[in-house]
């Protein structure tokens, strides 16, 4: 039984759907940020599958995936920093607290 890009794409879709569930269901901003991390991780799985599940040296796809990983890590880190700032300013760990921000 061979593993092709289709199997990687199915796994990527499953992780993406789980990430969507986390973003919509979670009320805590840290949980939402972790779920957004899952949304970013899903395309990386697909890219790895597209470039490695066939024969040949696919370093260009690896470069795309590496760039995606770096950008996703940076975005999630900034999200965590903003959540900590929100916690310090409001003392609330709740997505609804974002609706009270003004300015």
């Amino acid at each position: 039984m061979n593993v092709g890009p289709g199997q990687f794409a199915v796994l990527s879709a499953a992780v993406f759907a789980i990430g969507i569930y986390g973003v919509l269901a979670r009320h805590h901003p840290l949980g939402v940020a972790m779920s957004i991390g899952l949304l970013f991780a899903a395309p990386v799985i697909a890219i790895v599958g597209f470039t490695h599940a066939v024969d040949g040296p696919p370093a260009f796809g690896d470069a795309v995936a590496a760039f995606a990983i770096v950008v996703a890590s940076c975005i999630c880190s900034l999200g965590f920093a903003l959540i900590m700032l929100l916690w310090r300013r409001t003392g609330r760990a709740d997505i609804d607290a974002l609706g009270d921000l003004e300015g």
Partner: protein
């Protein structure tokens, strides 16, 4: 390199389980562990697929970012941020949407299999398909992507420092809160001493 089927399916099941735990566990601490497991399992998946350098990137970059976040979250001021279980409250809205998305994507991709996929990126872009390693490609073929990645990391570190640094009004507020806490503590101790003095029998005064 085509990955081994048994290893792929085993790791795929573990990735789905860990992702489900990261998105659905009430305890944020355990959800964080599950998220770390997803990162490690993705690195293992990349290893068995032959993307060795990418596996290192997958472990190092999110690992460093998560380590810094964990170190900051250990400070006293953020203690209330991660304590206590937080149940996903909008389950009934989120579950149908996620299941619908999963059904559309997973069933479609599973039914069509590999037939829809035209081929390797290297086939589409022959100039990049000559056996170069990831480091070589980043260095010589896509230096702009590498430079942009480095700039993004530097800007992120700077922005996180600016966001995380307590502002002047926060420092003033912290000082006021600390002084108030000390005053309240002193008043409480005086009150306790007075109450103990009233309860003490008159004959014991010596």
């Amino acid at each position: 390199m085509t990955p081994n089927a048994v290893a792929f399916y085993a790791i795929a099941v573990l990735i789905v389980l860990a992702a489900g735990a990261a998105a659905g566990l009430p305890s944020l601490r355990r959800a964080g562990y599950a998220g770390a497991a997803v990162i490690v399992l993705m690195a293992v998946l990349e290893l068995i697929s032959g993307a060795y350098a990418l596996a290192v990137v997958q472990l190092v970059v999110p690992g460093v970012a998560a380590g810094v976040v964990v170190l900051v979250l250990r400070r006293d001021i953020y203690r209330g941020l991660v304590t206590g279980p937080v149940l996903p409250e909008r389950f009934w809205i989120a579950a149908p949407i996620a299941i619908g998305t999963a059904a559309v994507l997973v069933i479609t991709l599973a039914v069509v299999g590999n037939g829809w996929y035209p081929g390797n990126l290297g086939v589409l872009l022959p100039a990049y398909h000559n056996g170069a390693s990831l480091v070589t490609v980043l260095h010589y073929r896509t230096p702009y992507a590498l430079a942009i990645g480095v700039v993004v990391v530097v800007v992120t570190i700077g922005a996180a420092l600016v966001i995380g640094r307590p502002s002047a009004d926060e420092q003033t507020l912290d000082q006021m809160l600390e002084q108030r806490r000390q005053r309240e503590d002193l008043a409480r101790r005086r009150r306790q001493d007075r109450e103990q003095g009233r309860r003490r029998p008159a004959g014991n005064d010596s």
